[in-house]
Symmetry: D2
Subunit: 435 residues, 4 copies
């Protein structure tokens, strides 16, 4: 196999060593010629630390021949790449912290991927991502963009609507749920299969099978009896058992923002005033991580990275790249245009569901209609997403306002204008489309 | 023309004199042989007051030949009727007052037609309405049910899904908006046309024309400048101008519950502790009205009825009956199965929209897709409605719980179980399907 | 009311006196300032005969003040017009005769509006109509195009897909069926109502009511017993009774081409060799008509025009213009984009169905799904129409070939290439888009 | 693994040895305890020959422990089975020969699976298959029915609409096309992937990839240059190159009946008068085969079976059974309810397309909309199929008549009644539902 070039946009992220570890483990299936790390000038120090650590990790595993390059404009990194991994963060963690504080100021959930936080992040991120995608169109038209950038569903939809670049969105929620449910059933991961359908950060497990036998009810019963299904960065609020049994499906952890809004908001307020918001905590973790990464003796991914959240990201990213590169037809849960798979959503809406992935991309399995108890919420959130994209792409204040009103975590039309004013003021530097 | 029989289920309602006034005004187009008033035994006193007043009103206008009969079981009233008007209220006003108080107890909007109040009312009402509809199927299969019973959209959908009786649902919101907008434009009612599409109590005016010229933007501008668009029984909270302009359409007054939830709740709490809840106020009004009605010298609809709300009900009811009886093809806004008129909703979902009404019933004009800013909310509320119907018809607790979680005014899964327990306990006498 | 200007593209048509008669009858509802007749230079002689006759007809009825102008380019005629009536015929009757002969040469039905004949006519006509529509966009953006040009459904769809001009397509088939069925029922036209849904020249009557009572089965029984439902220019082949009863609806006369293909072809071959093809017969009729029209003493529509076919065209055209001009909300059967009215067809497909027509245009009544026995044929023909439009607009030979294969009257893939070659060769002068 | 029981309904078919060969080859993945052969009493001689041959074939390969049982009622065979393979032929080959002759008598294609032949076969077969399926519901509710009985799509749809039995329909057309195209590309079967979507015997290959690279155009070019894509039992009429290039996809061999109707009919007439119809030829082949099978020394599938047609049936059947039994998630082309996979067809319509098959059954990949050139024909044929099912299940003559009119190979409403009379008369013994 001919070695390929992989570009990582946002290469200075503290996650990168996890990706590098995955790349090393899969080196037989995806031999690499070059790893091109791209970041902004302001992140030069961090990306150079990451580049050096990456070189040490590769060397330790006998992959000295893989070139590790660092770039502060994307063009050279993208040119000739087979995969372009996007994990960028416009405004970096301080912008996320501002989103969280901004939400709380208005008595709203301030969260990175939904509500007003997700909205603000989407406005900042989409123009930058479209710029990257257009470079991929020109400079590496056969490359696949593998997008982890949050809000991953919205960003993937924006790119697929407004460019011709090939893109698949990834999230670690489905894989994490899969691992946890397998553990609950005390079965190996591979013997357990979940049927996912929904949107990114709003996905349900509609069926659990183990060795082909339906175990959905059993898993629901276990969850009702207290088995936790949670992720590092979401508060472990247990699901009310009667609700879970009525739903007949397993919500993802982020569903708590929608199904338990009041409780989640209360917890967030408490946490913010005690330990700081999530972003503020992560900034501390990051500082510590980069101190470790800078150690010239470190040549592997440190344990501590696991506190950062984002577990299994590397696993799904590499499995996806393998499936594409080797035309495997692997079944994976990714974010991709609907094409009729979920009957209730438009063909061009990006959804999160089980797909067969091969060299031609992701082919969603037909799901049919969502249950009536899920269809309204899903369409409400998809409306929010679409309006947010229109706002971000065109700098259209009307769409922005309607997006805020449409989001179930905000809802109030009276709040929307001052909230939008604040979002635009706080993020002025990152929102040229509104100026 | 052969005179016809009209049955009024819930004939003891304080509204009935308004209907009777309408009937008298339209006597040339719909000559009557009999008006059959049906009520429950507990309402005997009230229905007899109404019957006597009705006879006096008919006599004063020279319609002594119209028989006015009173019934405490529906069979004889329905048999041979051409129209069956349903305006029943299971549990009467005290049940409504209980709904309102119940909502407030949980920090939720307690409203007659949506939220937990509308939910409780639907559970009480649907089984009774299905019983009436099945009698119509058997005893007057050619009759049309004209339903005003709230929640009118849900009740109409339940009857159209579960019986073969012919039914059209009516609400006075569209006609009231039409009169108000005509007044704002200083134009006669007939020269102004509105394009409605949505659900009952969640309907938007998508276009206003006067003499065929588009005036939508002008009306929106007037509303932004403070022209009120409101109804007796909904608080006059003005729409935020920027929101209205972004929406590009005119919401109905009940939309305030969804778009201004926080404010509406705050107002309701204040009002409940000061003047009492809406139902409690109405009970006072009713007491006074029946004192008037009982006066043997009263032979016309008294002024005071207008404080009761429900203006124009009689106008739309009679216009609808005329259109059917005389096969007129009149354009009216009613509640009827979708049949594809709103692209985003199922064919059998009852919607509120412009229809052509003739002897064959209501034929909705095709609307196409709702704007993205409205489609999510509409589907969310339709999901709530469908789950509520399933719960009411089958006494299914799971559907009931999911209905509560799905309603945007409730939302919280943690709240849903205790809330449902309370609804079922308070309404135990009216919910045999859950026992 | 302010008098308006009406442009007639193809003003030299022998039909024009019928239109003029209608205009005179409706002069109170639509007062005219100018009638602008447009034709090609080659038709100068005919259009001038028509203009003179028109002036005499107007004068006889006291409308000397209406200006009658003649144009050989459309710009001046369109500028300032309120209605632009399009009844053009690219290549005139000889082109139609060539279509008919071309079909027969290949053993296929040669018909003006479907099969290979309709296909050839669409290729010739669409570019010319798009040119007219673009002029209307620029020079009379508020004007409505009323299109009679055949194939009317395809032409109307092409204009509505590729321009922003306002257009409604008209056909005399529905009105003719309406008159005939009313006559069969021995009832006045106005008391009988038909429910139409389908495509132009492929429309079914799904329900007949008289005074609001369903008479569908009775009309079907009468048709089975031999009552004719036919039109001047379509052979009176009776419907097999068992088929009609199974269908449960009334096909239009043009359905015979699809349901009785073999018989129709046989009849056409016989007729062509005896009396000549339809176009050849019409050419004779036209010659005689123009001799009459040229008579300076003729000041009314001559009887003989009725042999030409196209009865009631003027009636529907004027009723449509009245409905728009006076914002009447009249129920009319026209060709307009679907917008979800027929569930099984795309939103932008032009259909023929009952609409409410007012100053804002045509609003189709929602029909729901077509019966399973009709849906396949309808979609097959709609596919043909869409492919034909693509071929005509882009000069795309692939779409043209697939259009021919898709048409149920042609079907054979082996025939398609030589057939297409012949169509393109015969019509070379009129198909610049393919050169 | 626990050995399982497999029932074969129509076990006396000459195909059975091919299935047995497949079973032997896959014995490691699907260990067998019993093979239960079911046939009608009239076929006793043949099924006993097959049973003996099966025992010899099993013994030769060391599987003496597998019990081979013979049944003349299905109950004992079905009870406890894991798979029920259905390959029955009501009325056997003489009924098929009668279908073919009946078609030709009316100047129509007489074909086993479409046109009037497929229609007649469906009427005979569906009631018997529903009876089998209802037995499976009761006696082996976890079993999967693997249906090869033609018309396979229609039969599978009837069972899935009218019973709760689990069923997947199979056809050897996709696998045969796959093998042929792989051969054309000179690549191993496994490296070539085809994307199928359509109906049984009306399926297109929309894309060909080899090692993940698109080769569709190349395959089309090869086919245009003369590479044959054909099957034993369909005449090798080459596709017109221009048509194939315009279509941009690869039709299945049975598409010739629709795209080349005239030629196919002519060939069929010639063949019928020379060598006899297809069924008549097959009867000869069968006679010879059973003479071979009866030889007590024969203990393997004889070469000559390959002349019978139906190659690869055993391969796909066993691969499907393996995928289900071992929960493999294999990608296979099968017949299964649409569930939105093809946007243009109802959710419950059975389609033929790429699916992921595991223990839960077949999960179709979402395809989106069919190209406009295919959608009409597909829906036309699906309408025919649905009407045929209604006719077969309810013995409804109206649906039967409309089915015939709807089928593109028949079409003519004048022909439909006498044709239906003849079908019902000829098949009287097999159509109790119409008596």
């Amino acid at each position: 196999m001919i070695p390929i070039k992989v570009a990582i946009i946002g290469g200075g992220s503290s996650y990168t060593p996890e990706l590098v570890e995955g790349i090393i483990q899969r080196a037989k299936q995806i031999p690499l010629s070059e790893l091109a790390l791209v970041d902004v000038e302001a992140g030069r120090h961090k990306v150079e630390i990451i580049a050096d650590l990456t070189r040490r990790m590769l060397a330790r595993n006998g992959f000295e021949q893989v070139k590790v390059s660092v770039h502060f404009t994307p063009d050279d990194a993208i040119r000739g790449a087979s995969f372009v991994l996007t994990q960028l963060r416009v405004g970096q963690l301080p912008a996320r912290a501002a989103d969280e504080r901004l939400g709380l100021k208005f008595g709203l959930i301030g969260q990175e991927t939904t509500g007003v936080g997700g909205f603000a992040k989407a406005l900042r991120t989409i123009p930058v991502m479209l710029n990257i995608a257009r470079k991929v169109e020109q400079l590496a038209p056969d490359a696949w963009i593998i997008n982890f950038t949050n809000p991953a569903g919205i960003v993937t939809e924006a790119v697929s609507l407004y460019t011709k670049a090939k893109i698949i969105g990834l999230c670690n929620v489905p894989v994490t749920m899969h691992h946890m449910i397998a553990k609950m059933l005390q079965r190996p991961y591979r013997d357990v299969q979940l049927r996912f359908a929904g949107l990114n950060h709003m996905v349900w497990v509609h069926q659990v099978t183990a060795d082909g036998q339906d175990q959905t009810q059993r898993v629901i019963d276990m969850l009702c009896d207290g088995a936790a299904l949670t992720m590092n960065n979401i508060k472990e609020e247990p699901w009310p058992p009667e609700f879970l049994r009525a739903l007949g499906a397993i919500p993802c952890p982020y569903h708590r923002y929608f199904y338990r809004t009041r409780t989640m908001l209360k917890d967030e307020i408490t946490e913010a005033s005690a330990e700081g918001t999530r972003a503020e905590q992560v900034m501390e973790v990051e500082k510590a991580l980069f101190a470790l990464y800078a150690d010239p003796h470190l040549d592997h991914k440190p344990e501590q990275l696991s506190f950062r959240g984002g577990s299994f990201y590397s696993e799904v990213a590499l499995e996806l790249m393998c499936a594409i590169h080797n035309n495997l037809g692997t079944r994976l849960v990714v974010n991709t245009p609907n094409r009729g798979a979920i009957h209730d959503l438009p063909a061009d809406a990006v959804i999160e569901t089980d797909c067969i992935v091969d060299a031609q991309g992701a082919h969603p399995l037909a799901f049919g209609s969502l249950p009536v108890s899920m269809v309204g919420l899903t369409q409400q959130v998809k409306s929010f997403e679409r309006l947010t994209i229109e706002a971000a792409v065109h700098g259209d204040r009307k769409s922005a306002l309607l997006a805020l009103v449409t989001n179930p975590l905000i809802g109030d039309a009276g709040l929307a204008s001052p909230l939008l004013d604040e979002v635009l003021a706080v993020n002025k530097a990152y929102l040229p489309q509104f100026n």
